[in-house]
């Protein structure tokens, strides 16, 4: 089992836990994702890394119905399958862009509760890697 996070700077992933890494500004409180050395709001360089909440609500969504240009996209399998993506509002922190496990417009609505899950993709060198995605809160336990 050599599957690793697609980028250790953006997330922590161990067998029983996935968490996104963000940064918080000591001066104005702005939260950013992925972590940044300087604050996007006030420019201060006093930022520290924080673990972001793993629950949120859907802020906006779309479905990618054609294969994105490759590179940079790395197809997940031979046949392209449409995938959902959106922005997820993590309460009181930040709105993150993420893959969604659902690609059915009837199943997606702004405001629906979601939870963070690990999601297997291929990295740019073709190795299996773990990125993050959001799934409906009501779905069964982690995959």
């Amino acid at each position: 089992m050599t599957t690793r996070p697609i980028d250790p700077a953006i997330m922590e992933w161990t067998e029983d836990r996935i968490a996104l890494r963000g940064s918080r500004c000591a001066r104005c409180g702005e939260t950013d994702f992925p972590p940044q050395a300087a604050c996007r709001r006030c420019g201060a360089t006093e930022t520290h890394t924080v673990r972001l909440p793993d629950r949120g609500v859907l802020w906006s969504w779309t479905i990618q119905r054609f294969p994105p240009p490759s590179p940079p996209y790395v197809p997940r399998s031979g046949e392209f399958e449409p995938f959902g993506l959106g922005y997820v509002e993590l309460p009181g922190e930040v709105i993150v862009e993420a893959l969604l496990t659902d690609a059915d417009p009837a199943a997606l609505r702004i405001g629906m509760p979601l939870r963070l899950i690990p999601f297997e993709v291929l990295s740019h060198c073709g190795e299996r890697a773990i990125t993050f995605a959001f799934a409906p809160e009501t779905e069964g336990d982690r995959q």
Partner: protein, 381 residues
């Protein structure tokens, strides 16, 4: 500060070039603009222009004549044309130049723009997992906007149908076939809620302008068009921009809001004075959002405005009279100047089949580009 007028315009047909090149068309557009102004290349004492992927504008001097003219290259995404125009306006207003040439041209391969995330300070994971797509951003922005302002998605169809209707009256447009709402609603869904005919295609094009100090312009032609304001603004915290792995939870205005407000202030006119407007319509949703962000209508008022026919050529607020990006495609460097070209024709009363009735006095144009900047220009006569 010297007042600045537009005395010459040149635009060649947009599309996908087969027997010519974007550089060749840029030279042709420049020659048309010079002839329109009644001046020679040797009279130009400042030049500025840009292109994303068709070459450096200053190298066009090898076709125009090596006059030693100061020539500045600009690249500001889809706001390249407006930023070039602003640079020339400042040069003339300051007295550094009297007669300036502005040129924009571009050529892009078929399909969605390919993004290199690492050039934009984004991690490799972002593109690898399929998130580095400008069309996704447009979809996500309009999806949220329709929800927040309780607007019906059918407006996207209306906007697209108008674009192709207007484009069919524009001899320079790439897409000249009017499409019915039925055609548009039956085109493939690409990124919900945007269908194929609601998204513009990257394409080829070239456009040029000749600008002059007002005193000089008056001697050149009897109907100069005044650049009443030209502004460029980048983003502030909380705006929703393309290629953002995250957004601030404290929401804020887009750069368009600030650029438009500054332009109206500078020009000393208000949104209600605008008689014709060209707005960045990279997708049909962008036109809807930009109508409000520029101040031309209130947020949420778009359904009433569009349903009433106000944004049609014979309406009270004609928008994208030449078919916009939807019908003309988007050659990035040329796109903003195409809008200026159209507004100049409208103010002169030379827009042919698509002329807005009663020859307008105030024309507004707006561009928006990655990674979060906007340019607004107000022209008057």
């Amino acid at each position: 500060m010297n007042a600045v007028d537009i005395v010459g315009v040149g635009c060649t047909p947009f599309g996908r070039y087969q027997d010519t090149t974007a550089r060749g068309e840029a030279v042709r557009a420049i020659r048309i603009a010079l002839a329109d102004a009644g001046v020679e290349w040797g009279d130009i004492d400042f030049a500025v222009g840009g292109s994303m992927s068709a070459g450096s504008a200053d190298t066009l001097v090898s076709d125009l004549g090596l006059t030693g003219v100061p020539f500045v290259n600009v690249f500001n995404g889809c706001a390249t044309g407006s930023s070039s125009l602003a640079t020339a306006v400042h040069a003339i207003a300051s007295g550094a130049a009297e007669l300036a040439l502005v040129v924009g041209f571009d050529s892009h391969p078929r399909g969605a723009f390919a993004i290199r995330p690492e050039q934009m300070g984004l991690g490799q994971w972002y593109g690898t997992t399929g998130l580095a797509m400008t069309s996704q951003f447009f979809a996500l922005k309009i999806q949220r906007y329709l929800y927040e302002h309780d607007l019906p998605p059918r407006l996207l169809t209306s906007v697209a149908a108008k674009a192709f209707r207007n484009g069919s009256r524009n001899p320079n447009a790439w897409r000249r076939k009017p499409l019915t709402e039925h055609d548009i609603d039956n085109s493939p869904m690409l990124s919900d809620p945007l269908r194929q005919y609601m998204l513009c295609s990257p394409g080829d094009g070239a456009c040029a302008l000749v600008l002059g100090a007002a005193q000089r312009a008056k001697r050149l032609r009897s109907d100069p068009v005044r650049v009443a304001a030209t502004t460029v603004r980048t983003r502030r915290p909380g705006s929703f921009e393309v290629l953002s792995p995250s957004l601030s939870i404290q929401r804020g205005d887009s750069p368009t809001v600030e650029a438009a407000r500054a332009a109206f202030e500078l020009a000393g006119v208000g949104p209600a004075d605008v008689a014709v407007a060209q707005l960045q319509d990279t997708d049909a949703g962008a036109e809807i959002i930009h109508l409000a962000e520029t101040g031309l209508c209130a947020h949420g008022q778009q359904a009433t405005l569009i349903d009433s026919g106000a944004t049609e050529i014979d309406g009270t607020l004609p928008v994208n009279t030449d078919g916009g990006c939807l019908a003309n495609g988007e050659p990035i460097g040329a796109s903003g100047l195409r809008q200026i070209h159209e507004n100049v024709l409208q103010l002169r009363g030379h827009a042919g089949d698509r002329q807005v009735p009663n020859r307008p006095r105030v024309a507004f144009s707006h561009v928006y580009g990655a990674p979060g900047l906007s340019g607004c220009t107000i022209l008057t006569r």
